[in-house]
Symmetry: C2
Subunit: 458 residues, 2 copies
């Protein structure tokens, strides 16, 4: 998540050139690792590596975990396999698995034997979950406590394991088969009197996720219960990890970005891609690959609009002034549709609208769209009168009202329909809605025009 | 954040009708308050009130805090002023301030005298911050510790204050003037050996926000440092509150929703409005008020398109087939523009793109757009050849390439420009970009057509 900050590039290069180990060390320790990562991001990977090697392994691991994934991989690939193995040993379990799965198969196979067996298995397992699932977001370095402990004993255990755990604020109690019995929060441990058995303060009715759950559903759940961490179970219902609040914040942002891009008619990440595209770091060719397909699909949708216009060629030839209002009318339908589809897509994504609300929301949208249509029709009648007289005013205002209602209903219904078909509602992008509204708009417009102008067309 | 769940409506009404106090109590305690809030949301406010009054005050407060703000207010307004005062006394400080500021001025003035003085001042202060700022999101029930304490003493203090504090995982150390000296985490307290002075484990170089900071900047900061809570200082640099991870998750979602709606050409919340509009709960008239302005503004932008077409009336009359390609061409410019503006707006919102990246991103976009233009031009030439022969094919493909590049650059530049002018980049909505691309597209198309077809137009 680092953002390249070029402010210290000259100083850092100077330190490297003069091999000023002392100041390099001081620099790495001077600020929060996230800030150091920002400064380092402005350098080349080999320079980052040269700087980091002068600091201790724990700090290296922390700073590296704040670099972007591309930079992480570039830096790690410069290291020797033993150095990588040592570094991975210091990293949070989710972070190291994320780096590992980005490395080349060749490098992965070189590193694995250099790792301790437990680490090797942990990395392999965490790296194996499909992107976008709870399994791919979770980390395995969570804290557990035995049910027979007292609160004082629990504090003692937590004191010892804390440095290696992602959090000790929520700890989990498992049975011998790693089945989740419940959780205790550090707050409950502190609040309970000393030597209270954990069995008295364990919360057994707790929320959890399955490894295959979609990360967006996990985010909804964690937001609903306002929790710092959510336990994750595998198919056997054994506990295999936790998802923490900071990871879910990233998920919320990432899912919103993917929806934004979908609504902007940019293709979604496909299987195996870690996340959506990134304005700054995505390569030009990948950018084209994500944008061209939808542009081409929409061309074909637009051919129908063109065919619609061709069908009414005689009407247009008789009253060319009709073309003047064409962009205005069909765009208004598209605009009203974009509004509806945006509202709908977002409401479905945040869980605010559900499939069962369909009829209620449709009724409401019909009312809203009718008022909008009335207002827009009025505006269009003024324009129509000014540019073409009363007959054109009538045609244009009537068309406007119909088009706005039509566009709104399409914009609202399509995301619902896509959701029903288990497709992503955000595929109902503004450009797609605009193109569909165009087709409807052209048919509405020229049918109304042909009806009222039939004398002139002859 | 509750979602009405109608599943238990018949049972709950049955309990109310038979005044089955025992089962009402059991129901309220049977699930997490967030779940109970979902079930209650399907009832009328007066029914919710009748059910809640049978449970204890703490649970009432918890359940109510999970209702939507509208429902909270509707339920509270049914209560007497003493009941309200007691309820507010049990609520988290940020939640009660949020409810309070939604009540009518008259009710506010009735309740204030019924509150203890400290509560009254706290509510007044928290309710006074402008929506969208750190002050409006923060809560004042954070835990502080004195610097002279040892870790063991600190644990004892935290044990006592925990029930009334939003979190005890991060505690803050202030001087006599409430200036922030630093923080200690409960993890550090637990990890340190017993009786370590807090002065040895205090972290002094910590992140904070000012009350007037924008909530989106606060979210960026908390995500950067992966922290559970961020302290908030007032103008005098005294500590006045904390913002916790769960509130910032809501901020991230809310800010994304506002940006979504802006991109969909729906007006942003104005001063005094708590947040963006809500597909399900916003009134029809407010919905119209949020949607109509942009539709009307875009009508006026589209008049320019119409005027452009009128200007080329002779070209159109000479070769009516040109109109066939009109929606296709101008929509493609709008679509490419929507893609660019969506990418740009999101990159600016997540902090991934900065103003200083302008030249780099522009260069990149020119390259991407050129390749897209080439691809789209090729597709258009096939269509043009099929519908109108080689001359039309040339005109259409050339136009397509120019329009796609033009649309992309407008879509990318406008958000940057808006940001530079301290306006919200998301105002560069897909419909606005589409309308602007239309104007450019029409001029490009008919100029190219007029140039190549000048013999036919005569």
């Amino acid at each position: 998540m680092s953002q390249a900050n070029p402010l210290l590039v000259p100083e850092l290069r100077e330190m490297l050139d003069t091999n000023d180990v002392e100041n390099i060390k001081l620099f790495c320790e001077a600020e929060h690792p996230a800030i150091i990562a920002d400064f380092l991001s402005a350098l080349e990977p080999v320079e980052i590596f040269e700087i980091l090697k002068h600091t201790n392994l724990q700090l290296q691991a922390k700073i590296i975990s704040h670099l972007t994934e591309d930079t992480q991989v570039a830096v790690v690939e410069i290291m020797g396999k033993l150095e990588i193995a040592k570094l991975l040993g210091e990293m949070a379990h989710d972070d190291r698995a994320d780096i590992f799965k980005q490395l080349s198969k060749k490098l992965q196979n070189l590193i694995l034997p250099a790792l301790a067996q437990a680490e090797r298995e942990d990395i392999r397992r965490l790296a194996s979950y499909e992107e976008g699932t709870a399994g791919a977001v979770m980390t395995s370095d969570y804290a557990t406590l035995a049910l027979h402990l007292t609160t004082s004993e629990a504090v003692e255990v937590l004191r010892q394991v804390a440095p290696d755990k992602e959090t000790i604020y929520y700890t989990y109690i498992l049975d011998d088969n790693r089945k989740l019995l419940g959780m205790v929060s550090l707050k409950d441990i502190i609040v309970a009197t000393k030597d209270t058995p954990l069995s008295e303060i364990i919360e057994t009715d707790i929320a959890y996720a399955m490894v295959s759950d979609h990360q967006e559903d996990v985010a909804h759940k964690m937001r609903k219960y306002d929790i710092i961490a959510l336990p994750v179970l595998n198919e056997d219902e054994s506990m295999v990890g936790i998802i923490t609040f900071d990871d879910i914040e990233d998920v919320i942002v990432e899912e919103a970005t993917i929806d934004f891009h979908s609504l902007g008619a940019i293709s979604q990440p496909t299987d195996g891609e870690l996340s959506g595209i990134d304005m700054r770091d995505t390569s030009i060719l990948l950018m084209v690959r994500k944008r061209l397909p939808w542009l081409l699909i929409l061309v074909f949708v637009n051919i129908i609009s063109g065919a619609g216009i061709a069908h009414f060629e005689s009407t247009i030839q008789a009253v060319v002034a009709l073309v003047f209002f064409l962009p205005l009318l069909i765009d208004s339908g598209g605009n009203a549709g974009s509004q509806s589809s945006t509202l709908m897509v977002r409401a479905l994504a945040t869980g605010q609208a559900k499939m069962s609300d369909w009829l209620y929301l449709l009724t409401k949208e019909v009312l809203v769209a009718s008022i909008l249509g009335l207002g827009m029709g009025l505006a269009a009648s003024v324009l129509g009168f000014w540019r073409g007289g009363p007959e054109i005013a009538l045609i244009v205002s009537l068309t406007m009202a119909c088009i706005v209602v039509f566009g709104s209903l399409v914009g609202m219904s399509l995301p619902f329909l896509l959701n029903k078909l288990k497709l992503d509602p955000a595929t109902a992008s503004a450009p797609l809605i605009t193109s569909l509204a165009d087709i409807g708009g052209i048919l509405i417009y020229f049918n109304i025009a042909t009806y009222f102008l039939k004398d002139k067309i002859g």
